[in-house]
Amino acid sequence: MQELINKAKELLANGTVVRVLGWRAGDLSYNPEPAFFETEEDLQKFVYDGFCGANLSKYMIEASKLDGKTLVFLKPCDTYSFNQLIKEHRVDREKAYIVGVGCRGKLDIDKIKEQGIKGIESVEGTELDGPDTLTIKTLYGDKTCSYASAMLGRCHVCKGKEHMIADEIIGESKDTKDAERFDAVKAVEAMSPEERFNFFQKELRKCIRCNACRNVCPACSCRKCVFDSNKFDSAQKANVDSFEEKMFHVIRAFHVAGRCTDCGECSRVCPQGIQLHLFNRKFIKDINEYYGEFQAGADIEARGPLTNYTFDDVEPSIVKERG
């Protein structure tokens, strides 16, 4: 972490960048938030630990409109989102100085709570070069749990430790993959239509339409969003009926289909713990199956699968034939 702060100070001092985009301590020690830093004093609040899961690529859309360069810290998986935003002309590569930061998987406080650890005051050992066991200070004394058991779901299906784009890289990354990416989707597909309907009904009923998933998504970057229209009755929960409840998430996932890099931010920020990645990954799985392997953000030149075609694409009736 000190290395990152030193780098930021150096680049601010020599005028390469005029601001730094990173994370600062939040209200709770395990809840850091994205922030801009403009002076050396500001940087005292800078943090980078296991809870810095937030993907900073989307903030670069606003930063690209400002004067001067911005130093942005990106984890390996965030660089896919950044690439995708370059491809869509939403961020300006020239306005960004990208420092790739190391990552050994990010933590989810809920995963720690699920293990029966209550009254959490702080978590220690979350740094990049920290130990494999976390020490959790609680009201009821110190508790421990393994780093891997507290990781975000998305880190168990890690896309890899390589940065897709970076001006320089600080810190060693680790590939934390220990599960198959599409297993959760396959489990749902294996159910009968009734079971699937009930499963999603139950899952989506929890939605409070806070729009956090939309706001955090790096692929959801339209200036005017369809869900903000007051002609469309889904602007607020009060208007929402069962249809909107079901369809909001389908529409949202469809809008990012073929552009979603599977960064997992939607599931991370959902206050209700809805498994939103089940929708995005279903589209990714279908695209891989029907139109060939495609990873959004891996290659800036590649055409997106839904803005492309071949003469012998599968017919939509495949859905029925597949059963």
Binding site: P193, F197, D286
Partner: protein, 147 residues
Amino acid sequence: MSIGANEEFRPKIVAFCCNWCSYAGADLAGSSRLAYPADVKIIRVPCSCRVNPMFILRAFERGADGVILCGCHPGDCHYSTGNFYARRRMTMLFSMLDYIGVENGRTRVEWVSAAEGAKFSATMNDFVAKVTSLGKNVRLGDLRCKN
């Protein structure tokens, strides 16, 4: 208008037909005196690619029991490539609807050219029969629009 309990169920079908092929195909079916059920409500669109996936969801929301999209055969699009994009888009959408548990017989894409009046009529008869057998669309309806 309400549907009595003892009345036979008639599905509401929305058919998006492309102006250049399928709409003309429907016209040919009419002028050839080929029957297809009156439950099918045709919406003319400039190209099958004009159909935003939201149109289909909206149709279901407003009470449709089945939605069918008809366009030119792949390769014959009036705008050269429109139906290729529509094909990918609809594959994705139908797969997702199937995934969330909506019966996959309620959605269909069929390529009907302007010369295929008989195919248009046969397709519509078949689709209406299929949707009728599936019954009322309860999984995707919007409660406010019911009767």
